[in-house]
Symmetry: C2
Subunit: 178 residues, 2 copies
């Protein structure tokens, strides 16, 4: 249940409505913690209910601007420092690798080739995002840039790995002491 913390984090930077937050998720946070509209609104209501955020202002079209409360900031800091992150990496992509044996060598190879392409295009997209974003020197900007760098390195790593893996499959078996 990190969504609540994602919302707290965004609200710690500036006040925002559900709609604003939704947009932010779509653009910057989508790669790290995707969330749907319904989830965001539901969670905001819950957060407000437990006093971690509060409605700061109401605008046109029923717009409700939320702001983080002191209690919310405390919870956010607690999550950042005390709660040890759990690595629950569920990888659709990697899971398939285990079972490439049921395919023909050609098909297995094709899968890895697709992965290379996926990584390459993922890399490119992030690079474009990097170029298009207005990197002011705000906190979110600094750390967003660091997160983006992670994405770049991740894609580069995965591409190289897929190339290596494709080689492994084509090479004859036997002991080769890799």
């Amino acid at each position: 249940m990190s969504l609540r913390h994602a919302l707290l984090g965004l609200l710690s930077d500036r006040r925002a409505s559900g709609y604003d937050l939704l947009k932010t998720f779509e653009t910057s946070l989508a790669n790290v913690w995707p969330a749907t509209q319904s989830q965001i609104y539901t969670e905001l209501t819950k957060l407000a209910g437990s006093g971690l955020i509060a409605v700061a202002a109401e605008g046109p079209r029923g717009r409700k601007e939320y702001e983080i409360t002191g209690e919310g900031m405390a919870e956010l800091r607690h999550w950042l420092t005390e709660v040890t992150p759990q690595r629950t990496l569920r990888s659709d992509v990697l899971l398939r690798v285990f079972f490439l044996g049921v395919l023909t060598p050609e098909q297995a190879h094709a899968y890895l080739t697709d992965l290379m392409e996926m990584s390459r295009s993922g890399y490119e997209q992030l690079r474009q995002l990097h170029d298009s974003v207005d990197w002011d020197d705000g906190n979110l900007s600094v750390h967003g840039r660091i997160a983006l760098e992670y994405g770049l390195r991740f894609n580069a790593m995965r591409r190289e790995w897929a190339e290596w893996a494709a080689q492994q499959l084509t090479q004859p078996r036997g002991r080769q002491g890799w």
Copy 2:
């Protein structure tokens, strides 16, 4: 809903009971697609209900050995070749990076240091797993080894990135054209 495909994949290699599969998940698949006991048994019942797997034999203690059916193999192949994998990387770890600004520089730095250590120990654990596993030349073995290599590279990448990120935070801002 990749759990069903994980189960199909394992059953494509050999017949197994829920208990067997549970053990396999705990050891080899846990890093890629964790699953709990209740989830596995539930899914097996569903899979049997839709004819993708079937009970091949019943053993002592109510043991039911499942085997994959032709229909199940077709579904597995279909998933491997036709269904484009979706990258839903929800990363607890990376999400926090966005919000390191709410902490003191020392705390933020400490978080990255913890990440380095986490990556280092993750790397070590995988290396030990690599050394302890009996790598026969079965298909699962070959591909399991490839998946493991991914884990090694991933941890190495993350460690380097965390080191780089820590540097970014300590360095004075300003334009440096990275």
